[in-house]
């Protein structure tokens, strides 16, 4: 999964190449069988859930749908979700750039360990990701007593929601940038420096343009996860309506109150976000791998 953007090739053209070659061409019945099974699986497990979200959202009519979206608790959930993402994504972007710069441009001992540790949050259960902040900042936690004395609320409040969001989206941007910047090496940056550019100029004019698509790709995935995270945020949120509910948590509350149409209405916004994410991701993959000649002629 690392550096998906950097490894995805010209998929659509590829398929025809294999079909044109007698040595790699499968018989028609194999193709029908493979595509039949594959597309059925795809339709049942991926397409159907997506369709159901929108059908259920509009089951009680358009008025109910929009009423569920403009209701104050829903709006407050949207605001909190946007707030958490708008803090988590830039911080993880900054981290991704710093980590990739250090790892790709310099030699130091323990580099492979560092790369593994950066990936760590992906292998931790979201529930555990929430729990660790309870252990640090909760009432019974390391800083619980001190925070209580100073009347600072982190757990069951917005700061913990932001922290949990940062944790679960931690590796997204770094893991896109690191392999790409490692592959690019440091020749171009060294040339810029030797021609008299400052470090910052080199970074903005040489490094960033070279990695812009991978960077955008990481930001898109990071943002989608930041807005959609459920488990980690659920542990630290406290579920206070209108205060510490993000959109996914609001969906859960509505669902558990049997307000299915409203739950699916809010869920449909998140599903739309997912579709936009996939569309952007596909566009970035396509842009990142267009031959250079084509890029210049546009």
């Amino acid at each position: 999964m690392a550096a998906v953007a950097a490894t995805i090739d010209t998929r659509v053209h590829g398929a025809g190449r294999f079909e044109a070659n007698p040595a790699t061409r499968d018989s028609v019945w194999v193709k029908v069988l493979v595509l039949g099974l594959g597309i059925t699986y795809f339709a049942v497990f991926l397409l159907l859930p997506l369709i159901v979200v929108f059908v259920e959202a509009f089951r009680k009519g358009v008025d109910t749908y929009f009423a569920a979206l403009v209701e104050p608790d829903a709006l407050s959930a949207v605001r909190l979700t946007l707030l958490a993402a708008s803090i988590a994504v830039p911080l993880n972007l900054l981290f991704g750039l710093a980590a990739a710069w250090a790892v790709a441009k310099f030699q130091f001992p323990g580099k492979n360990l560092l790369i593994t540790l950066i990936d760590l949050p992906f292998s931790v259960s979201p529930v555990v990701a929430g729990l660790i902040y309870v252990l640090v900042f909760g009432l019974q936690g390391w800083f619980g007593h001190w925070l209580g004395e100073h009347n600072i609320k982190i757990i069951f409040a917005v700061p913990a929601i932001v922290l949990a969001t940062i944790f679960v989206t931690f590796p997204f941007i770094a893991r896109e940038l690191i392999p790409l910047m490692q592959a690019q090496g440091r020749d171009e940056e060294e040339a810029a420096i030797s021609l008299g550019a400052t470090g910052l100029q080199t970074f903005w004019r040489v490094t960033i343009p070279n990695v812009k698509w991978a960077l955008l790709y990481g930001v898109i995935l990071c943002n989608a996860r930041a807005m959609g995270e459920f488990g980690a945020v659920s542990v630290v949120s406290g579920h206070i309506r209108g205060e510490t509910n993000t959109m996914p948590l609001h969906v859960e509350i509505l669902y558990n109150e049997y307000q299915f149409a409203a739950a699916f209405a809010v869920a449909s916004l998140l599903a739309l976000l997912a579709l936009v994410t996939l569309a952007l991701k596909t566009y970035v993959e396509w842009r990142a791998h267009r031959p250079i000649a084509e890029e210049q002629s546009v």
Partner: protein, 278 residues
């Protein structure tokens, strides 16, 4: 000396590595260590009771069993989908390819309620299965369905680039030596894609073990029957049993670390065998 200087021609090493280490420690390493520090204050019997009570053991069996089965299902269908996407042209190719990643992009809570709506007994598929006596939602099969959904992209996305890069020469050579298509597949193609298949399996399994959001809506969460381990942690927290929750979390963390090492090993093997990084 001259070598040392040329190595550090670029500025910002101290700043970037310093920030990386500080941020990594503050957000990830120190909070994660809290689990082990808190767990280490428990006595042996207390810890054992928290992590090995019958209800918790039942949750391990369900979590690991359903995760293994879901990952295995995704190996089979992931390979079929990856093969279809790389080898065949068909209408809708681009859309199918783009939507494969839906489980990465769709929030798990949304997936959870959508799958429940489909597989509940009055749902689109649930109502068809109900007369046959098959119940999916609100039981272990529901857990399996949710884990299949969230693990679907892993195998496709690890195998697909390898299949694309596979030079037609190998299959041409085996065909010219008289191999059938099936022999070419089993003897030439399959050994090449085995490492990425296993990597995809391990990634899907690791993701499924920790999954929470998509499962809890459809599982029914019946103790001893359809309660997953992450939910046990939440339940203990809600009962203010912080020590018990931490003990179970420590077990899950250790398993996560082992899986991370397995995945890294598989990826290194895969990169060596296929000549490219995943």
């Amino acid at each position: 000396m001259a070598r040392g200087v040329s190595k550090r021609v670029l500025p910002g090493f101290g700043l970037s590595l310093g920030f990386t280490l500080a941020y990594l420690s503050l957000i990830v390493l120190i909070p994660l260590s809290a689990v082990f520090i808190k767990a280490s204050t428990m006595t042996g019997p207390e810890f054992w009771q928290a992590v090995a009570s019958p209800r918790v053991v039942a949750s391990y069996k369900l979590t690991f069993g359903a995760s293994l089965l879901a990952a295995a299902i995704n190996v089979v269908f992931g390979l079929i989908l990856a093969w279809g996407l790389t080898r065949y042209t068909f209408p809708g190719h681009r859309i199918v390819d783009a939507l494969i990643d839906l489980p990465f992009a769709l929030p798990t809570a949304v997936a959870g309620i959508a799958l429940t709506a489909i597989y509940a007994k009055n749902g689109w598929i649930g109502s068809l299965l109900e007369p046959l006596g098959i119940k999916i939602a609100f039981g272990p099969p529901g857990v399996l369905v949710a884990l299949v959904f969230i693990g679907l992209p892993f195998v496709v996305r690890t195998v697909q680039p390898i299949l694309e890069d596979l030079d037609a020469e190998f299959e041409e050579a085996s065909a010219s030596l008289g191999a059938t298509r099936w022999q070419s597949f089993t003897r030439v193609v399959f050994p090449t894609i085995l490492p990425p298949l296993l990597t995809g399996f391990a990634l899907a399994f690791a993701r499924a073990v920790g999954e929470y959001g998509s499962v809890i809506f459809i599982a029914g969460n019946i103790p001893m029957v359809s309660e997953i381990t992450p939910l046990i942690i939440i339940t203990k927290l809600e009962q203010y049993d912080y020590r018990g929750a931490t003990a179970v979390a420590a077990v899950m963390l250790v398993i996560s670390f082992i899986l991370l090492l397995v995945v890294n090993g598989l990826q290194a093997w895969s990169a060596k065998r296929t000549g490219r990084a995943l």
